[in-house]
Amino acid sequence: MKRGALMAAAAIATLVAARPAAGYVRYTSDGGKMFKWPQSCVVMQVFPEDLVGMMSRSEIMGAIEASAGAWSKGSNSCTYLDIMVSSSDAATPRAVNDGHNNVVFRTETWCKLNAKNDCDPSVAYDAAALALTSVSASTTSGIIRDADIEVNAHHFSWTDLVMHPDLRGAGQSFHDLQNAVTHEMGHVIGLDHTCYLQPPAPLDDMNVPIPSCSSASDAVLATTMFPSANPGDVDKRTLEADDIRAVCEIYAVAADPMTCAPGADDPGGCGGCTTGGTPKTALGGFGLLAAVALAARAKLRRRRR
């Protein structure tokens, strides 16, 4: 019996060893540079007003704050990254590369908006998309300059399924906002999938080719390794081990740049840009910090002169 147990243990060890790598994968630019924010904190501005007919304001902000918090230092002491969320009652902006990172809810239309806020007839958004995340980064450095999340509330219904468990289950088609936005926040910080469908297989953080999604067994398809979820899913609200390792290695606390000034290391970035105006915001803390940092820098320059 003891020998049998050893053999079973060995079989399990082999199974684990043979299992495709489950490392994390980072997005890379066409220049081969990995996407990364250069500063300690990433500010996401939320425009909840458009969704208040579907969820309460506190539910919306609670969902977005929790999604951001899942990837932030408050939940993961090994990282310096802090995704700071604030709300705004200003007019909902468009998802463009303007140096402002926005979370917007699209209720009236689901399309690319032009400068006049009309749908661009030449570019359609697919009605099957629940949410889209657009990330703009430097091709040569990989430094992220802008990220926007657009939630499709034109075709889909959103709620907090933990607060409203009656909306889960057969016959219901509500989607959990926090569940979805936690996914999108993974993109915002520069992460990619860990399985592929068309060769060549990308390498994960351990330089191991990531596993193929298409050759996965039915058992694997049913596991969390397969990137799918049902309506009503709330499992993705919380990070898994690889997600945590990703944020903790890419944004390791020991490498904290100790600045919240965006674009500090990115000459072509948006460190000082003011495109799109400044919406009304509850961003006092960040604004103050940035102002103090800029004042200190100016003072230092004056002293050097």
């Binding site: 049998g4 147990a5 079973a8 199974l15 684990v16 299992r19 994968v25 220049g31 007919g53 579907m54 468009r94 463009v96 590369n97 690319k112 032009n114 400068a115 030449s122 570019v123 359609a124 697919d126 099957a128 998309a129 629940l130 889209l132 995340t133 657009s134 990330v135 703009s136 980064a137 430097s138 091709t139 075709h155 219904s157 709620t159 889960r168 057969a170 088609s173 509500f174 996914h183 993974g186 993109h187 992460l191 990619d192 999938h193 860990t194 469908l197 068309q198 298409s214 398809l221 969390t224 390794m225 990137p227 979820a229 049902n230 899913d233 993705k236 898994e240 690889d242 997600d243 072509g268």
Partner: protein
């Protein structure tokens, strides 16, 4: 001992399943009938070129993909005609804009595409679900259609409580088989395509 063995196996399997992939844009999974119904053109195409440039407002990068039709399965695009896809994302100079879930195209590749919209401004149905690479199978010599490139998208099932069903067909299929299925679906007077999501109803019953 048997109990402890079972425990070990359970713990090990839990550990195996514990690591989840990084997450991505969410897209509703569409089955083949829905894909065909929603597509204005379904065809085998060759990717001629992919060009990125700024939009008219110089705010967003758009990619324009030129396709030439090899074999039309649905729609009026004859063999040899061109179809053009315009979609957000691409690289211009030192700026790379990524819209997660958008389909990736590479010049020279051959694929089955499900397109909606006008031939000069088409978009891919179901985002990355609407493009499937065609290649010759080394073992059989037959052309096969590969699973869709999800390009960063996370697909979800369209109906709740269907946990055991596959999200969509992930396995490669012989080209001839898929062509027959698509053509049969295209000529069938299909019911109107189901709404992509739920009818927007608020938790307290209000409609938008």
């Amino acid at each position: 001992m048997r109990a402890s063995l079972r425990f070990s196996v359970a713990v090990s399997l839990l550990l195996i399943g514990a690591a989840a992939p990084a997450r991505a844009s969410l897209v509703l999974a569409l089955d083949l009938p829905t894909m065909v119904t929603r597509a204005d053109n379904v065809a085998v195409v060759d990717v001629v070129s992919v060009k990125a440039g700024w939009d008219a407002d110089h705010e967003q990068i758009l990619s324009t993909i030129d396709l030439v039709v090899v074999d039309s399965w649905k729609g009026s695009a004859a063999s040899g005609t061109h179809l053009t896809i315009v979609q957000p994302g691409g690289t211009v100079g030192d700026l790379t804009q990524t819209v997660h879930g958008m389909t990736r195209f590479v010049p020279g590749e051959r694929a089955v595409v499900f397109l909606t919209g006008r031939p000069e401004h088409a978009s891919v149905v179901g985002m990355a679900q609407g493009k499937r690479i065609v290649a010759r199978d080394a073992a059989t010599g037959r052309f096969v259609v590969h699973a869709p490139d999800k390009a960063g998208a996370t697909f979800i099932r369209s109906t709740p409580a269907s946990g055991s069903s596959p999200v969509f067909d992930l396995r490669a299929r012989p080209l001839d088989d898929l062509r027959a299925d698509v053509r049969a679906l295209a000529v069938t007077k299909a019911a109107p395509a189901p709404a992509p999501g739920a009818k927007p109803v608020t938790p307290n019953g209000r409609t938008r």
